[in-house]
């Protein structure tokens, strides 16, 4: 196939040249060209190699359905793989590369393997590697190198992406003849209309046709209509593809503001995702032509008949010098006239129908050789192009020399959005296609998407669809009437579907899914192996699972499955169309949510105070908290160990502002808390507090914290930082849904109060110095006081295991109190400490944390917390905790301590001997703060009964292990003498 630009014609701007490169070679094209049309005009017809067999591939289509001509485009961070050359509009400097070939497109080693090696049948990978994981390790490199599509970009994307919301009365998807007519009628009623078109210009199928609309040429009529609807305020988006139709008539539209690989002007976004809420949606999404099944139907030079007409009519490119046309209906005859009228030669028209006397056929017979009951058996050619076509007509075998074979196996209406919106599909036995049926949302389908094919009918139907959509919303009647269409060959052209392959062809050489290299033989094999459901067929053969989602291939596969089953196509059914309709970039889905903006950053009140000291930070949920405050020459571990030792020997202070904090007040406050907490609460005297924990409904520990009675009917509940939002929701659920009769109010005060915990042997002296009026509260008591003129709440609670106090202060005054603590604390030999030191200290004390030991699978028994459980029950999780599976004492993972002379790798498996079966895992690894050796916490099967047992903590992923001994999970001050008075 050797394409060439015709001297005139087409919707391209011949006065301007655009330079581009393909595989390093330099070419020129015109504004209005796609990469595909520009390459064709330059005589390039080999565009890529196929997925599995590295077969040479050219252009099958001219639109978004193109399965074969995938290229990588752009450079650096703007590189975009797997871009359809037919959906890429030319710009100056465009750089494109073919994919999946090595060392070059023309000479490909993989193709040699494909030609001489064994074909890879359906299910090859399952069968070859099932139960043989070692084989995969050997072959993975080779297979990954040989198979696959484009490579991902290696640099980060420099471009910005935008999201926008829009609302309208009528959204028209697709600006072909039906969509334009719908926009005309809907907008004339005063309705707010939005028109979105995936192409870079309006017109759709009209762009390749020669009919007259209201006596104007198609491009004139399109221009006039565009002006009319724009003047009425219709919002028109081009290069904007409606990719998803969601609940309540929400349509997502991905719009390209620059072409793939192109630099945006200034800091403009490269793409924009629109979320359009429409009252009514008109789907004028067109139809996709289907290829024909014959041997080597994937050769470069085999092209869909409408695509050929598109290249001729829209781009002024004749894709081949000598054309054979194979069809099953009238429409492809138009391609014969288009080719011949632009100087091409039509060698033959092969019509699979019996001889018929339709006007277009009659006219064609006067100019071209037409064969009836004719089917293509085989295409011959290769990377250099097509040479010959062999066909059978009425029992005779014919052979035609040609370099272009224009095929048409009928049309599949684009019902994707209709189905995404929950609509049903109807089978049309005349056209052999599924088209939009019963709608579920406010959608209607029109034009060829509704299975229509006569242009006049398409336009009248589109006009009515727009008017009907608007009529549901406004009282205005549409003004004017649909345009009059004059066409040489009116009337429906569909006669029969040509989905079945001719008798006698080798199914191994007949491709169904061009992008995933699935042949008829694969479909047959899957059927023989029992894959009778269309959903199973799809997954086993990968039919329709490539980036084109089977736009050109699904029906052929279905037809073959149905034939094998001896059932009809609608009985076999169709796989579900899911969003997106065409591939979208991850960038446009992410929009602004990247880098710093990927998640909110929550700064504690003391953030600026900490930042001045340049600590190491640790994200906790969305919060940013200091991890350690390293001094010169210290790494994280050294800093944390110094901080922890300072706490044990002198004094330390830590920011605990992010803890969840809830005030619960009212006559039934204690009763509410005893439903949320698994410990008693009501027995607390005013001014006293206690450790508590909460269960999920299924009996697993959810969170832990402390609860304080700060007044007669007033409590303060604390919970973990990361679980605070969940706890807020849970408290509300219990209060409003489970126990609405209780008179209690809950206020989430997490961000009202900042907290500074001071801990260590010097903590009491520090509090005494800061709050001289205060009668120092004993352990687990609370009191109010004043520090530096600021009201504070002081809770005597210890997490570190040392005598400790938590000072709570209103956020704006936190920095002042922190400064006073630091000033007095340094005088007592103390230092600030971060989360890493806190972790070391709590491991040594055996305190469990959410996300570590509280992992959603541990009960109070597993964690050794059951002795403090409220015997009255009545709390969330109490009932489920009594189920037999949780009462069983054997076989559960239980909290243990582990000690070793070597570091104990966190996350490692606990095994009797490495390598071996895991009997538990290390949840947190630490060191002895004072003294020698390493300690850890872990969850171990039946751990409570295994004290003293030697085990190995084994981490094969890090190549480390340590011999450990199982001990009680408490390594320091077991009597708790240090934190009591």
């Amino acid at each position: 196939m050797t394409g060439s630009r015709r001297p005139v014609g087409g919707l391209i701007d011949r006065s301007k040249m655009l330079a581009f490169t393909f595989d390093g070679a330099r070419y020129e094209g015109h504004p209005g060209d796609t990469l595909a049309s520009a390459l064709l005009a330059n005589g390039v017809s080999l565009l890529g190699r196929s997925f599995k067999y590295h077969r040479p591939r050219g252009l099958l289509a001219a639109g978004v359905e193109e399965p074969s001509a995938l290229v990588g485009v752009g450079v650096g961070g703007r590189f975009e793989p797997n871009t359809r050359a037919t959906d890429l509009f030319l710009y100056d400097g465009l750089t494109a590369h073919s994919q999946n070939r090595w060392p070059s497109l023309a000479l490909d080693v993989g193709a040699v393997l494909g030609a001489f090696g064994r074909f890879i049948p359906a299910g090859f990978y399952y069968k070859a590697f099932l139960g043989k994981p070692d084989l995969w390790k050997i072959y993975e490199h080779f297979i990954r190198h040989a198979a696959g599509l484009g490579r991902p970009p290696r640099e980060s994307d420099p471009d910005a992406y935008d999201h926008r919301a829009a609302f309208c009365d009528v959204l028209v998807v697709g600006a072909g003849p039906a969509g334009l007519a719908a926009a005309l009628s809907a907008s004339s009623t005063g309705a707010r209309v939005m028109l979105v078109e995936q192409d870079d210009r309006l017109g759709g199928g009209l762009l390749r046709e020669t009919a007259r609309l209201d006596e104007a040429t198609p491009d004139r009529w399109i221009a006039r209509t565009t002006r009319t609807v724009a003047a009425r305020g219709v919002r028109i988006l081009t290069r904007a593809t409606a990719v998803g139709y969601w609940d309540d008539d929400l349509v997502t539209v991905a719009q390209r503001l620059t072409e793939p690989g192109q630099s945006p002007a200034g800091d403009a976004p490269a793409q924009r995702l629109w979320r359009v809420r429409a009252e009514q949606v008109v789907l004028a999404t067109g139809a996709i032509e289907r290829p024909l099944p014959f041997e080597h139907n994937d050769r470069p030079g085999v092209m869909l008949a409408q695509a050929v007409r598109g290249y001729v009519g829209r781009f002024g490119v004749l894709p081949g010098a000598r054309t054979v046309i194979a069809t099953s209906h009238d429409d492809a005859y138009r391609t014969a006239f288009a080719v011949a009228d632009t100087g091409g030669q039509v060698a033959a028209i092969l019509d699979s129908r019996p001889a018929c006397d339709r006007p277009i056929v009659r006219d064609a017979m006067a100019r071209f050789p037409v064969w009836f009951e004719a089917q293509v058996l085989r295409a011959e050619g290769g990377a250099q192009g097509l040479r010959r076509v062999t066909a059978r007509a009425g029992g005779k075998t014919l052979s035609f020399d040609c370099d272009l074979l224009a095929v048409s196996g009928g049309f599949s209406p684009v019902a994707h959005l209709h189905m995404q919106a929950g609509g049903a599909l109807d089978w049309d036995p005349i056209s052999g296609a599924f088209r939009a049926g019963q709608a579920r949302q406010h959608q209607s389908s029109t034009g060829s998407a509704a299975g229509l094919d006569d242009l006049g009918e398409v336009i009248r139907h589109g006009w009515a669809a727009g008017a009907n959509a608007a009529a549901a919303l406004t009282s205005g009647a549409p003004a004017g009437s649909p345009p009059e269409v004059s066409e040489r060959y009116p009337g429906p052209s569909h006669a029969v579907a040509a989905l079945a392959a001719p008798d006698g062809v080798d199914p191994k050489r007949v491709f169904v899914d061009f992008q995933n290299d699935v042949t008829l033989a694969d479909v047959d094999l899957a059927w023989r192996e029992g894959y009778r459901s269309v959903e199973h067929l799809k997954r086993y053969t990968t039919l329709g699972m490539a980036t084109d989602q089977g736009k050109t291939s699904n029906m052929a596969g279905l037809a073959r499955l149905a034939a094998n089953e001896g059932r009809s196509i609608p009985e076999v059914g169709l796989t579900t169309f899911r969003p997106p309709y065409t591939p979208v970039t991850l960038g446009v889905l992410a929009g602004h949510a990247k880098g710093f903006h990927v998640a909110p950053l929550r700064r504690p009140a003391l953030y600026a105070t900490h930042a001045a000291g340049n600590p190491l930070w640790q994200p906790v949920g969305y919060w940013m908290r200091p991890r350690a405050y390293p001094r010169a020459g210290e790494n994280l571990h050294a800093a944390a160990l110094r901080e922890a030792r300072t706490v044990r020997t002198a004094l330390g202070w830590v920011d605990v502002s992010t803890l969840g904090k809830f005030e619960v007040a009212g006559p039934d406050a204690a009763a509410l808390l005893e439903r949320v907490c698994a410990t008693t609460v009501a027995k607390l005297a005013v001014g006293r507090g206690r450790y508590t924990y909460m269960l999920r409904e299924d009996g697993m520990v959810m969170d832990d914290g402390t609860v304080w009675r700060v007044g007669a009917d007033r409590y303060l509940l604390t919970s973990s930082t990361g679980g605070a939002d969940r706890m807020a929701h849970h408290l509300d659920y219990v209060r409003r849904v489970l126990a609405p009769q209780l008179k209690a109010a809950v206020a989430n005060v997490q961000e009202h109060w900042a907290g500074v915990a001071v801990a260590g042997p010097g903590a009491r002296s520090l509090i005494a110095a800061l709050a001289p009026e205060l009668d120092i509260p004993r352990h687990m008591s609370a009191d109010r006081s004043v520090i530096g003129g600021v009201d504070v709440l002081i809770l005597a609670a210890s997490y570190s295991g040392e005598r400790a106090f938590e000072i709570y202060v209103r956020n704006p005054e936190a920095a002042a109190v922190w400064a006073l603590v630091a000033e007095a604390g340094v005088g007592l030999g103390g230092c600030a400490y971060g989360l890493e030191a806190l972790e070391i200290l709590r491991i040594e004390k055996g305190h469990v944390v959410v996300g570590g030991e509280i992992d959603g699978r541990t009960t109070p028994y597993d964690l050794g917390l059951h002795r403090m459980m409220n015997p009255a029950r009545g709390f969330v999780g109490a009932a489920a905790l009594q189920r037999p599976a949780l009462q069983a004492q054997a076989g559960r993972q239980q909290l243990v301590g582990l000690e070793s002379a070597q570091p104990i790798p966190e996350g490692s498996m606990l095994v009797r001997q490495a390598p071996g079966a895991a009997e538990g895992h290390v949840t947190a690894g630490g060191v002895r703060v004072i003294g020698e050796g390493f300690v850890a916490l872990g969850l171990l099967r039946d751990g409570h009964a295994r004290l003293g047992e030697p085990l190995t903590a084994w981490s094969p992923t890090r190549g480390r292990s340590a011999g450990v001994r199982v001990v009680q999970p408490l390594f320091y001050d077991p009597q708790g003498e240090r934190y009591r008075d």
């Binding site: 309540d248 409904e697 929701h729 849904v737 009932a879 009594q882």
Partner: protein
């Protein structure tokens, strides 16, 4: 994405709400262990109309009762939790 008509705030995007559970999956605090297991692990998964508990978390915070079709996603009723239950839509 659904739009849910909050009785307090009007029609808002689903993103502002969270689904809590089906109404019949609310486990009373005085449930027996057997009932708890039944509620937690052997719930109905209706295909069709279902009463559900939602919350307008990123809005007014109200707990809402929705009558929703699990196949078509149609919402026949949105009520505040304390309101008397309407039998809407089957």
């Amino acid at each position: 994405m659904l739009r849910i008509a909050c009785p307090y705030c009007g029609r808002r995007a689903q993103a502002e709400f969270v689904f809590e559970r089906a109404l019949d999956a609310i486990l009373p605090l005085d449930a027996t262990p057997a009932a708890a297991v039944e509620h937690l692990f052997a719930r109905d998964n209706p295909k069709g109309w279902s009463w559900e508990l939602w919350r307008h978390t990123a809005g007014c915070g109200a707990w809402l009762r929705l009558h929703r079709h699990t196949v078509t996603h149609q919402i026949a009723a949105v009520e505040t939790l304390g309101a008397p239950r309407q039998d809407a839509g089957g």
